[in-house]
Amino acid sequence: MTQRRKRGRLFYKFLFVFLLVSLVPLGVVGYYLVNLMQVTLNKAITRDQESLAVGFVDTVSTYITSFRNVLYDAAHLSDFVGMDVEKQKNMVNNIMQLHAAFLEISVVAADGQETIRIGRFLKDTKLRDFSNDGIFQKAVTRGEFIGGLERYMGSYPTLTVGIQIVSPSDNRAVGAVLAKLSLNGLSGILKTSFPENTHTQAAVIDSSGFLVAHSNLDEVYKSDARLPEDVLKILLQNDARTGGGEILLDNGERVLGAFAEAEELGWVVYIQRSVSVAYQASADMLKRTYKMGGYVFLFVLILGYAVSLVIAQPIQALREAAIKLGEGDFDYLPDLSMPNDEIGELAHTFMQMSESLKVKTAEIMSAKDELERLNRSLENRVEARTRELRSAQDELIKKERLAAIGQMSSVVGHEIRNPLAVINNSVYFIKTKLGGMQQPTDPKMLKHISIIESEIRQANGIIDEILGFARTREFNLKPAHLNAYLEDLTMSFPFPPHVELVKQFDPSNPGVNIDADQLTQALRNLIKNGIEVMPERGRVYVRSEVVSPDWVRVDIEDEGPGIPKDVLEKIFAPFFTTKARGTGLGLAVVKKAVDGHKGKVEVVSTVGKGTCFKIYLPIVNITQNKQ
């Protein structure tokens, strides 16, 4: 059965719903989680970077402060003022050797004249006049001053630190120490903190946007090195001291940036990280989520398949059963034994329904059969009744007709037979009178007298036949011994001399119920016919033969010319005759009489050999009735 393998649409619906129900929330939750994680990570990284930036601001301050302190300590030595130039020179050299960041240190007197000038890469050692120098003046008046970003020898980012030299006796400024401080150290620290493989750039810029330090030293050495304008725009226009966030660079790169301002210097520390790197974790997370989703999808698919199968299979089976039921097949329903759950109950209910349907259908079918049977019997009864009515009607018509004929026969009997009798008497009288005369009678006269007599007989015979047929009275059947009856009959029948009577009676001499008048009339008619068809000579057989325990046959057979087949069929019909003068009632009377005896009459005729009328009569047991 290929149909069994077919999955219904329900199955796929279930599967689809399962997938939807389990995957959609997963997807939504996953999406939010990833998003949330990204936001959180974003914030964390930004905050992290911010704190890094803030931390680095300290580093920068500390870096500068530590070198200022070195200078400050030196300048504020109690005997620095009292030292001679050589000593001061030694000391400055000492400092230069200890701190590589100092590129050049000058000692300037209160009047602005440079007294000592020691530089690391210095070729020109000519002493200069600082009396108009801003930094010198600020350092002298304020005690100390840190200048802005400079490019030492055109490339090294440096700044000038000025410290007032104070006379310990009267606490009065007597000059200043000016030192050029290399800021490469800062870049070095940045580079150490953010190595290249971290994909993080860190930079320190001054308030004009020029690079003070950068994690990539090459950036710093460029003349007028600056951060990209798009970043600067954000940094310089921002009023906040610290901050951070995602930045879309002009080159399309997305980065996470954070900054912190070093207030006293007016510098900004900026740390930038590529988003792809920053979000590496979240990307991993996303990947894992997708993978997880894939696993869940597979799992749900298998689970859904199984569950759908469990739900859909019984329903499919039920459906098949319903189809079979619809086709009227109650006996070969598929197996519906199912677990004891709602579907099992449904199957159980279905089975009950099919049972009751089966019973109901059987009832309907049997009711239908019954109805058909009743209809048939009704039809039969109507038919039978119609037949009865028709036959009753026929009978009535026949009776009426026969009554009319009976009436007529009375008239005929009385009114025609009387004249015939009169004529007969008169003819007899004349005949006797003529016979009594002396002279011989004219032979023609005698011939005519005999013609009259013959015609009277003829007329009388016809009247006999008509009256015999027209008799309407009931048959008065009385038991008799057939052979004795036939013996009497043949005895009283006037056989002419040219016809021989042959009697062949069954020795068992069966009893029969007969109406002697009617049966005699019938048999006489037959014998008379037999004689009539043998005008020359011949034999008439009168035979009786028991043919079965219930029936005896009486034959009246002649040796006449026989009856042609086409005539044979009609001979029992009233008024059918082949004689020149005949009523055609003789055999009709026979038929009527035999019918009245509950018998039947047959005729067998062979042309040229003769005719045999066979009358079958029911045998009755008359021994008890015998007197």
């Binding site: 009997g413 025609i416 037979r417 007969n424 006797t432 109406d515 008048d517």
Partner: protein, 124 residues
């Protein structure tokens, strides 16, 4: 002496014809046209043979039989009829005193012989 025959029939031709024929056969006939007259004549003449039609206008044949037999059981009573008599009718007729019945038209010679047979059976 010849036997007396009374013929009762409403048909004059039959009655007269039969009388003449029987006269010729050696009987002495008297006639009546109806039952009443027939019964009267029978009482008066005391006939040996009565031949009567059973369909007479005033009486039914069987009633006449009864009436005639009240007077005498000695004569031969022959019923005449133009129609078939059923077995019951015949039986009834014989029970009421009829000796024979004949159907019209009849053979005179036969009738004559039969009458003589019946007469001799009655001892006449």
């Amino acid at each position: 002496m010849s036997h007396k025959v009374l013929i009762i029939d409403d048909d004059a031709h039959l009655r007269e014809g039969l009388a003449e024929v029987l006269d010729a056969e050696g009987f002495s006939c008297s006639e009546a046209a109806n039952a009443r007259a027939g019964i009267d004549l029978a009482k008066k003449h005391d006939p040996d043979v009565v031949i009567m039609d059973i369909q007479l206008p005033d009486f039914s044949g069987f009633q006449i039989c009864q009436e005639l037999r009240k007077h005498s059981r000695d004569f031969v009573l022959i019923m005449m009829t133009g129609r078939f008599l059923s077995a019951e009718e015949k039986t009834q007729g014989f029970e009421l005193g009829a000796d024979e019945y004949i159907t019209k038209p009849f053979d005179i010679q036969e009738l004559s012989i039969r009458i003589r047979q019946l007469l001799s059976r009655k001892g006449k």
